[in-house]
């Protein structure tokens, strides 16, 4: 389990055998994982949009998209193509530069955060030391883009939406960071790969959900608020402020906001799966399964057997995506069943409830770590 597949190494070796110098081979390899991740994230968004339409339809006893492709799976693609070809309208007295920069600043950090999401032992773009901290830092750039969009639209509803987005994002970042800090304390590391490895070995029993029952609820609430999903979609509350900061946007710029919000949702679900649901780990520990297979003598396997490595990697990616999409399903279900909170309720919940509770959770985790170093990662 420790080695896993070294895609980078084998790819560069293969190119070298074709006669390319190692520097060129490395340069050819460099953009590939990033490109794959961007495509993967975009396809993930298409899936989520389809899921959202289907699940909301089911919640309201409708059928939902039906004609575009089987079960309407091509509907999000049709939506996307429509948005791409729409006219790019900039309002008369809007600030043209800031109006264009706003959506860009919202989308780019979200895609950058995919750097640290692991799908397997070696199936991650970079295993940074600061790992999960980078995600928190990058997600704090988005409110600047929202403020920019809100200001540049030259519309009071947009400005209100932008200000609400910034206030909400700042308030909920603190409980989010504190609940992540409790996990980092248990794993002795901020690296996402280390955090998953610390949960491995006992299958489903080793996942952090059981050790952080309060932490994961705080994290999920704060993550929903950061993604501006209902019940926390105050910045674009359509009954109060039209559509918040996106009021004046149309065409591709609106599509960027739309894409950014869904990519952020998938990203939060992936990070939740990594932090609390054991990342790429299967329900039963695969190492023990391999040992058991060896003992029964059916097949000789070791951790370096190629087909076992491929199966482990495929299973890892599948498990991560399954967990993430389960959480996305929960988020969609919440969106279509729960009413929106008011702005004062939102801020009260963030500052007067989540913040003290997450601080207490952090202190209790520290105490438990000192008292029971076996179970809480000494």
């Amino acid at each position: 389990m420790n080695s896993g597949i070294d895609l980078q190494g084998s790819f560069i070796e293969a190119l070298k055998e074709l006669g390319l110098p190692s520097g060129v081979a490395r340069a050819v390899w460099l953009p590939l994982p990033m490109l794959l991740m961007i495509i993967g994230a975009t396809v993930g968004v298409l899936v989520v949009v389809w899921l959202e339409r289907k699940i909301s339809a089911a919640a309201q006893q409708r059928i939902g998209p039906e004609y575009a492709g089987p079960l309407g799976v091509l509907q999000p693609v049709a939506d996307g193509i429509k948005l791409v070809f729409k006219e790019d309208v900039v309002t008369a007295k809007a600030d043209r530069w800031l109006f264009t920069m706003g959506p860009v600043l919202v989308v780019v950090p979200v895609f950058l955060s995919y750097l640290i999401v692991p799908f397997g032992q070696n199936i991650v773009i970079t295993d940074l030391n600061v790992g999960i901290f980078l995600w928190i830092a990058l997600s704090s750039i988005a409110p600047i883009g929202l403020l920019m969009a809100g200001y540049a639209s030259n519309n009071k509803y947009s400005l209100l939406g932008g200000l609400r987005a910034a206030a909400q994002s700042i308030s909920y970042e603190i409980p989010l960071a504190l609940s992540v800090l409790a996990i980092a304390m248990m794993s002795n590391s901020l690296s996402t790969v280390d955090i998953v490895q610390q949960q491995s070995g006992y299958g489903i029993l080793g996942w952090n959900v059981w050790r952080q029952p309060v932490g994961f609820i705080i994290f999920w609430i704060a993550a929903l608020a950061e993604c501006e999903r209902l019940p926390f979609d105050l910045p674009e509350a359509e009954e109060e402020i039209v559509a918040g900061y996106q009021t004046e946007y149309a065409g591709m710029k609106f599509a960027l906001f739309y894409l950014g919000s869904y990519v952020n949702l998938v990203l939060s679900a992936l990070v939740f799966a990594v932090l609390y649901l054991g990342g790429w780990e299967f329900i039963v520990p695969l190492d023990h399964v391999a040992e058991w297979l060896n003992m029964t003598g059916w097949v000789e396997v070791s951790t370096t057997t190629p087909w076992l490595q491929v199966i482990t990697a495929a299973l890892g990616i599948t498990m991560t995506l399954l967990k993430a999409y389960f959480l996305v399903f929960l988020a969609i279900l919440l969106r279509w069943t729960v009413p929106r909170v008011r702005i004062d309720q939102l801020l009260n919940l963030g500052w007067k409830f989540l913040l003290p509770v997450s601080l207490a959770n952090l202190l209790i985790t520290a105490a438990l770590k000192l008292a029971f170093p076996v179970a809480f990662g000494g």
Binding site: N129, V130, F133, A137, S140, I144, I170
Partner: protein, 206 residues
């Protein structure tokens, strides 16, 4: 020169140009909102330079604190009070501009000579390549940098207590005369703050 060095040199150049351009924009643009947004660009470029110096934790902290908190707060403050007033031309404005320019040029020259004169101990072959920067920073915080660390946290605590005192408006004693509370249709009903000084010191504890 291999690939990594080339990338480092090119991105270092891009970051330096970006930082200088955005910093000049912060100072020279007349629209304060542009200045505030460009300030975010300055912070991001500095964070990129930190990454080039292998200080990954400092880079992420720079983005989180300066871009995510300080800059957003500055923008927030500007957007809540932005009134778009046109300033009248002051007679003799050029004297002020000239003196400001002289002071800034002097400061620049002073800092420049300081950088050039100081014998920096740069050795490219550092003996210990630090693997995990967070662990090293933590060790330093709790050994030789303990006092600055604790002082900074006490300072932040004081700032937070002060902010809460300023933000809380219910420290005014109830027994004070209330005829000054005039509410118009456009202002929120709020007790005037000047009364706090009339409370004779007893108001603070209530």
């Amino acid at each position: 020169m291999n690939l990594a060095e080339g990338v480092q040199i090119v991105s270092g150049g891009i970051l330096a140009v970006m930082m200088l351009a955005t910093a000049l924009g912060v100072v020279l643009l007349s629209n304060i909102v542009y200045s505030a947004f460009l300030l975010g660009g300055v912070f991001i470029s500095i964070s990129g330079l930190y990454i080039l110096l292998n200080a990954d934790f400092v880079a992420a902290a720079q983005i989180l604190i300066y871009v995510g908190a300080v800059n957003v707060l500055i923008l927030f403050a500007i957007m809540l009070v932005n009134k778009r007033e046109d300033f009248k031309d002051i007679p003799g404005r050029w004297i002020r501009n000239l003196s400001t320019g002289v002071v800034c040029g002097g400061l620049f020259a002073l800092l420049g000579t300081m950088i050039l004169v100081t014998p920096w101990s740069i050795n490219s072959t550092s003996p210990a390549v630090i693997e995990n920067t967070i662990v090293e920073i933590g060790k330093h915080f709790f050994s030789d940098f303990l006092l600055p660390f604790e002082l900074a946290s006490v300072l932040l605590l004081m700032a937070m207590v002060g902010a809460i005192i300023l933000a809380r408006r219910d420290l005014i004693p109830e027994a004070m005369p209330r005829e000054e509370t005039i509410t118009t249709s456009l202002t929120l009903p709020e007790r005037p703050r000047e009364l706090a000084s009339l409370g004779g010191g007893s108001g603070e504890e209530s």
